[in-house]
Amino acid sequence: MNRRIAAVAIAGALLASCNGVQNVMGGDGAESANFIRLFTLFMVLCTIMYLIVVAALLAALWRRRRSGLTVDDRRHHQISPIVRPALIAWTALVVTGLTVLTVASFFIDRSNAATASKPAIHMTVTANQWWWDVEYNLPDVSKTLRTANEIHLPVNVPVHVTLKSNDVIHSFWIPNLAGKQDLIPGRLTDVLLLARKTGLYRGQCAEFCGVQHAQMALDVTVESKRDFERWYSAQLATAKPPATPLQRAGYRYFTTRECAACHNISGTPASGQVAPDLTHLASRRSIAAGALPMNKGNLYGWVADPQSQKPGNHMPTVGLEPNELHGLIAYLETLK
C-alpha cells in the first residue's frame, strides 16, 4: 500500500511537468509508454533501496551513543554476530532487486522491438548540420515526398524511419513518442515509431553536432489517418504560381538569385538540394529547424539575417534590399 502511494506520488510529481511537447514522460507513443512503465518500476525499487541505505546510515550514526567495539576497549577487531546475516540478507536483496530490474528491462526492450515490427510507412530522415531532411518513401516512387524539419504521422500506424547523416553524428529524438537513435555518417540506423495519441510534439537533436546543435529541432504532428492523407496529398502538390506583382518579384528573386543555389521549390526552376526543401514552407509551424515559430516577423528576420538568429549556420546573410525582402516574404508566404 505504501509502495503504491509512493509510486503515485513520485509519478505525480514527475508527470506534473509532463504536459510538455518534448517530454520523456509524455507517453504518447508505444515505446514511450513502455518507458513510463519501466521507469516507474525502477523508480519504486531504487527509491526503496535508497531509503534502506539512508535509514541504516542514520541508525548507525544515532547508535553512537552506546559503546561500540572500538580500539578504546581493545575490541576493534571484533564484529557482532548480527553483521554476517545482515550482509547475506543485504546481498540477497540487492541481487534480487537488480535481477528483477534487469529482466524487466529485457522484456520491455523486446516489446519495443516488436512494437512496430510490421511498419506501414517508411521514411528516411537525413541529418545535416543543423536541419532535418525528411523523405517519405512509399512503394509508389512517384509519390515520394521530400520536406524538411517536420514530420507528420498517422496515429496508431507503425512507421519505420531510416536514419542517415550527411556530415557528423546527430541523434533523432522525439521523446513523447520513442527513444533516440544516432544518425552516423557511413552507417544506417533506424527507429520505429508508433504514435498512440494525436497531438503536436517536438523532437530535437540529442548528440552534439557543432555550434548550432541547440537549435536543431523538428516539429512532429500526429493526426488521424484521414488528416494525414489529406496533408500528404497537399504536400505532394507543386508550389502555386505567384499571383500579385510583389509575389512575382519575390518569385523572380528566389529563382534567379542566391536562394535557388541551395533551396528547392517543386514546380519552379529553383532546385537546389543542399538546403531545406521550401515547397510548402508556409504550412510549417516553425522556421530554421524549430528555432523560430512561423510568423511574418520571424520570416522577415530569418531571411534578412540568418546569422543573427543561428550564428554559424550555413545559410549566408545575403544583404537584401528592402524591396527584395518584401517580395521574397510575400512569395514565401504563398507556399502553403
Binding site: 534567379t256 543555389a261 543542399v274 546569422q307 550564428p311 549566408p316 546573410t317 545575403v318 544583404g319
Partner: protein, 183 residues
C-alpha cells in the same frame, strides 16, 4: 625570471597569439554588400606578364589563412558541384585547379573574379548566385588545392573517398600563367 627571458617569452606568446587568432577566427556573417568585386563593374583582374599587380585587398588575408573560411569553401565546392567539372582539383571538363597554371590569375581576388564573372568555355558566372562571402570562401579553398594556403589552416582530407595526397602534405605549386594551348 630574468627580464630577457620574460621579454622573449612575451614576444613568443604575442607571435603565437597573432598567428593563431587569424587562423582560428570563426566567420559567421560576412560583409553583406560590396566586397571587392562590385556587381555592376568588373574591374580588370587580369594582367599580362609584364603588368604590375595591384596590392591584394586586405580582406584577402581574412579568408586565405582562415581555417573556417577554407572549411566552408570546401563544403560549398561540394554543394555547388564544382567537382562536376573540376573534380577534386584534377580537372576534367573544367581546368585542373591543383596545378600552378592559372589562365586568369591564381591570386585569391583573381579566383573570386573568375567565379563571379564566369569564364569562356563553360565556367558559369556565380555573381548573384552566391554571396560575396561564399565566393571568397570557395576561392580560399581552391587556393589550397594547389598547396597555396598555410598548412596549419587546411584540413588534411574530407570525409569522402580520397584520391589525392592530404592537403597538409601538398607541395606548394608555383603560380604561373597558363599556356594558351592548354585547356
Amino acid at each position: 625570471m630574468s627580464s630577457l627571458y620574460r621579454n622573449s617569452l612575451a614576444l613568443l606568446l604575442a607571435v603565437a597569439a597573432l598567428s593563431a587568432c587569424e587562423r582560428e577566427e570563426r566567420q559567421s556573417r560576412g560583409k553583406p554588400l560590396g566586397e571587392t568585386v562590385p556587381a555592376s563593374v568588373s574591374p580588370d583582374t587580369i594582367f599580362p606578364q609584364t603588368g604590375k599587380l595591384p596590392p591584394l585587398h586586405p580582406r584577402a588575408a581574412a579568408y586565405e589563412r582562415n581555417a573556417s573560411a577554407i572549411a566552408e569553401g570546401q563544403r560549398l565546392y561540394s554543394w555547388m558541384n564544382c567537382a562536376g567539372c573540376h573534380s577534386h582539383g584534377g580537372g576534367g571538363m573544367g581546368v585542373a585547379l591543383m596545378d600552378g597554371k592559372w589562365r586568369y590569375g591564381g591570386r585569391i581576388d583573381q579566383i573570386v573574379a573568375s567565379i563571379a564573372e564566369g569564364r569562356p568555355n563553360g565556367m558559369p558566372a556565380w555573381r548573384d548566385r552566391l554571396t560575396e562571402q561564399q565566393m571568397w570562401q570557395i576561392a580560399a579553398y581552391v587556393r589550397t588545392l594547389s598547396g597555396q594556403a598555410p598548412k596549419d589552416a587546411v584540413s588534411a582530407r574530407t570525409d569522402e573517398m580520397s584520391g589525392t595526397p592530404p592537403a597538409t602534405q601538398t607541395r606548394r605549386e608555383p603560380t604561373r600563367p597558363a599556356d594558351s594551348d592548354q585547356q
